[in-house]
Each structure stands twice: as structure tokens, then as C-alpha cells.
């Protein structure tokens, strides 16, 4: 039976991590001597179906319905569970985003199937899909398999390469109805405020991160501020005016340590580490981060780590390929200038 891949879409575009999931699915399909079926639900599904073909899907199932528009879990689960019941796929695979975690866990419960989440490696052995996934925030790895007819798998972003798209392709496209979706949904969407202009941490190839050291900004806080309030102001000012320009020059996302988030220097969305996001970019630049074990757990999968810290003894240096011992407020602007000179 085919390997299903949910191609997650937003505002009519496929998420790039979905193509990584399609690549991972192809490996599984090859191991099981079957093919891949991309599932494209919602807006602009016809165009995305063609893209899925170019990225290697042999078949595509599309479903367009108004009730899929605002990403309510209930409609997607109903649709996916019906397809799983009717077609008994060998596996259902998706990139481990928030929406995919919800969707695959829900559909796996509906069909009493095993779910292996957040895998960084996949293989087939004697017809079983075996996933390697981090546990204890990456301090330990575990190998896991599902004992059920269908295995559900979410794959960690950037753990699998996206296939190179073909110039053109002609996948077998099938449109299915949305009868499975209840006419009355339990959740009403009142408002959606998009997050604009920021690179998503988990998709980012480069991350520039700031820690407690961000408060050592030489730029003076307003005169009426003192103590903690002044530190927060200085750190926020540093994230916006020192780190962000470097991140923008690099096309990087902004990360932060728990210490910086807990101190109120930056919003939680940016936290990297055990109680934040686990990331694995090509390049991770840690600025003013000492490198507590909780932080390491979130970023140790990065390909190249660079540490900038005043304290030559900071544990982050042991994990880093390159280090500069110095004040981040001097080093980061110099780095941006050097980069701009190099790029002309």
C-alpha cells in the first residue's frame, strides 16, 4: 500500500518542509516496494499537486473545500482518517510542524495506529519502518517502530534533504470529496494575525541567537530607567539594533536562550532549547550565550556553531567550531561589516 505524505499548505503555498517529508517518504516507499501519494488539502491544491509531482510524488490526492480554509484540526482529521480507513496506507508522513503534530496524532488515534514523532532518521527493516528520534531533548536517541498496519511518522525539519524538483512531471491526480468533514465544526476562528517578515526558527538555515549577555549593551537606557528595567531595555535594544541587522544580512532567524526569554529580553517564540525549539541549522551564531545544558539540547544538532562571548571559559566554546572571545556589542557589528565587504 502507498505511503501517504501530507503536504502542509498555508495561504495557498506548500511549506518547504513538506518536500523534505516527501523525500523521507520516498525512502520508505522504496524500502516497502510501493509508491508515494501526496495529500494536498485546501486552497490552491491543483497547483500544489503539480509541484508534489515534480518533487517526486507518484500520485496526488487533492481535496478543496471551504471548511479546510482556516486550518481547523477537526476538518483535516476527519478527511485524513477517512482516507486512511478506505485506503490503508503503509505509512502517513508529514513534517513535524505544530499543525502536523496535531493532525497525525489525532488521525493515528482514530485508526489505533502507532505514531513515531519527530524522527531524524528512517529506515525499513523486514517490512517495518524504524524511526530514530531524540528523547530527553536530544540527550538520548531512541529507535522506535509501529506494530500497526499503518505507521504514522512526523519528521523533524531539516533532518531530511528535500528532493531536487524535476522540470515537469505528470503525477496521477485524484480529487476526493469532503463528505467526511462535519458540516458543523466545534471550533470557530474569530481572528488570525499573521506573523510577517520573520524567518521561522525551525526552517532557518542560519540562526543568530542572543543570551543573557544582551543586557551588556553600552547604549544607555533612558534616564528614568534603572536596574532591571534598564537591563531589559538595553537587551531589547540590542536584539533590535545589533542582532537583527546581522540576521537580516544573513537571511537568518533570531533565536534566544532561556535566560534571555525569562529575563524579558525577547518573546518566548524565539527560545531555543529544552523548553523552547529544537533547531538544526547549517550555522548557529550564539552571542552572549554561556551554553547551559538546556540550551545545548536545543541547538547541538547545528552543523557549524560559532560562539561570541566575553568569558573565554563559557561552556558554549566547547561545542563550537569557531569562537571569538570578546564583547558581542563590538564583535557582531564588525562581523556584519566584514560580511558586507565580502559580499560587496
Amino acid at each position: 500500500m502507498s505511503v501517504f505524505v501530507w503536504i502542509e499548505t498555508f495561504a495557498g503555498d506548500a511549506l518547504p518542509s513538506s518536500w523534505e517529508a516527501l523525500g523521507a517518504a520516498q525512502t520508505i516507499a522504496d524500502g516497502l516496494n510501493t509508491d508515494t501519494t501526496a495529500l494536498v488539502f485546501g486552497e490552491n491544491s491543483d497547483e500544489i499537486a503539480d509541484d508534489a509531482g515534480r518533487f517526486g510524488a507518484q500520485r496526488v490526492i487533492v481535496c478543496a473545500d471551504d471548511r479546510l480554509q482556516d486550518h481547523r484540526l477537526e476538518s483535516y482529521t476527519a478527511l485524513l482518517s477517512q482516507l486512511v480507513e478506505e485506503r490503508a496506507p503503509s505509512a502517513v508522513i508529514a513534517a513535524a510542524t505544530n499543525r502536523a503534530r496535531e493532525l497525525l496524532a489525532s488521525a493515528a488515534a482514530d485508526s489505533e495506529s502507532g505514531l513515531i514523532s519527530d524522527v531524524i532518521d528512517l529506515r525499513v527493516e523486514d517490512g517495518f519502518i524504524i524511526g530514530t528520534r531524540p528523547a530527553y531533548a536530544g540527550k538520548v536517541l531512541m529507535e522506535m517502530t509501529a506494530n500497526t498496519a499503518t505507521s504514522f511518522v512526523t519528521v523533524r525539519g531539516r533532518a531530511f534533504p528535500a528532493p531536487t524538483p524535476a522540470a515537469d512531471s505528470a503525477p496521477e491526480i485524484e480529487a476526493v470529496g469532503a463528505d467526511a468533514i462535519p458540516s458543523e465544526l466545534g471550533v470557530r476562528v474569530d481572528e488570525f494575525v499573521p506573523e510577517t517578515g520573520q524567518v521561522n526558527l525551525t526552517d532557518a538555515a542560519i540562526i543568530v541567537s542572543g543570551g543573557r549577555g544582551m543586557a551588556n549593551n553600552p547604549c544607555a537606557a533612558p534616564a528614568d530607567m534603572s536596574g532591571n528595567e534598564a537591563n531589559i531595555w538595553k537587551a531589547k535594544h540590542g536584539f533590535a539594533n545589533t542582532l537583527r541587522p546581522l540576521a537580516e544580512a544573513l537571511g537568518a532567524a533570531i533565536g534566544a536562550s532561556r535566560a534571555a526569554v525569562d529575563a524579558g529580553y525577547i518573546a518566548y517564540e524565539h527560545q531555543v532549547g529544552q523548553t523552547g525549539k529544537v533547531v538544526n541549522p547549517d550555522l548557529y551564531i550564539a552571542c552572549g550565550i554561556s551554553g547551559a545544558i538546556q540550551h545545548q539540547a536545543g541547538m547541538r544538532g547545528s552543523k557549524i556553531i560559532v560562539a561570541i562571548n566575553k568569558d573565554a571559559e563559557a561552556p558554549i566554546f566547547k561545542l563550537s567550531r569557531y569562537g571569538i572571545v570578546g564583547d558581542l556589542y563590538e564583535v557582531v557589528p564588525a562581523l556584519r561589516e566584514a560580511l558586507e565587504e565580502k559580499l560587496g
Binding site: A135, M142, L283
Partner: protein, 261 residues
Amino acid sequence: MTHVLTFTRSTPDTAAKVWVDDEGAVTWGEVATVVNPWDEYSLEETIVQAAHGGGESTVVAIGSALHNDALKHSLAMGIKNALRLEEAGADCNDSLVWSALAAGAIRKLGDVDLIIFGKESVDVGTDQHSYQLARRLGWTMLGYVSRIIDADFAAGKIQAERMLEQGKQTVTAALPAVISVMKGINEPRYPNFLGIRKAAKAQIPVWSAADIEVELPKAATTALRFMNPPARAVSTEIIAGADVKEKAVTLVERLFEEKVL
């Protein structure tokens, strides 16, 4: 009366070293466990929402007596009731077995309006339990809640803000519902002295699958083996140079050589 319920578990401290021993078992040595750090937010929110609804709060753990520590911490914070479910031979690491037991307990209690989960557990690192429980109960699920705008228990509805990767979504749903909450939704309180003393004396009831009339499903997953991650073979080069500018130029050169720029 309003009844808000939450689940918790004991996990090794996030600062603890965790490794796989010679027998292939996961260990964290002698280090004491803590309440799962993500659950501090769900425990706080449970206390707040139960008070808001003028009702009861309950915390449940599924698994061995290891989890009593997390339950006692929850009581010390101010949760009213604690309960542990333990079934010999049940593979509670499997989320479908776990959610079958959890659903059984909720049905047995019969009066729960709102279930609040922390986003995930720092040990197994999955956030699938909440969704699977909601599915088993047939309740509405709201994941990644960053703010409860209003839980109106009398009218039976909840309005909340959810944090998606692409932005913030405000939703309204009917109760009963299952939600999972993010860090930042509140400032978890520290247990006070009186709370700790009261919790220390609490007798925590333990229910088995038979007590809640649940027939357990077979585990759908098997953990085959645990491994220590490969050591990061890294030799650190501290960039040398006469001044910051020279060091920055050298670092940029190195990063181009590494092909990460």
C-alpha cells in the same frame, strides 16, 4: 460545579545529565526528578481557571509511584485533588495506551469541563497525548494556546489565542474541551510552605484499569533501543587577530570555506 483537570508527570531536571547505561537503559543517576517543566504552566492555568469558574481542580499522573513527586508538587502549588493511575504490565510509554487510561479516568470522574495539558513532556519529548485523549473523548482540541481570553463555564464555551508557526489564531470552542498551553501563558507560582506541608501529608489514591472499567488496547509502538548520541567531534578554533575587525574578517573567511554562507 466547574471541574478543571490537568495531567502531569515527574521528569529528570532539565539541567540533569541523562545517558544510556551499559544495559541499554536510560538513566539520570541520583538526580531527583522535577515536575515536567512544561506542566508548571498547565498547573498554574488549571488553578487560575478552576478559581475563575468557582470549582474544583484535579491533577492526574499515569504510571509508577515515581510520579507522586510531581503530584505532590501540584498539590503544593494549590491543585485540590490528585490521582494516580497505574496498571501493571501496561506500556504507558505508548500514547494510545496512555490516552485509553486517561479517557477512562475522565469518564469515571464524569464532570470534567476542561482539561489543560502542558505543551509536551521533556522526557519522551512528544506532544501527542493531548490530541489522542481529545479524540478518544470526542472533545474539541485546542493546541498551542498562548492565552485564554475567557473560559465561560456557565455558557459552556472558551475563547483562546493559539500560537501557530504562521501567526496567532483566536478561536472559540464549546466545552468540554482539551487544550495544551505554551510557556508564557502565565507566571507559575512557587509552592509556599503551608502548601508543601499539606501536600506532604496527602494520601494520593491509585486507580487501576479495572477501577475505571477500561480495556487496554495493545501498545501500537515499540521502543527498540536507546542510544547515546554520537559525540560532537569538534575542535574549537578561537579566532585570533590584532583587533575585532581582523577577527571578524577571519571568521567570515572561515564560514565561506565551510560553505555555510
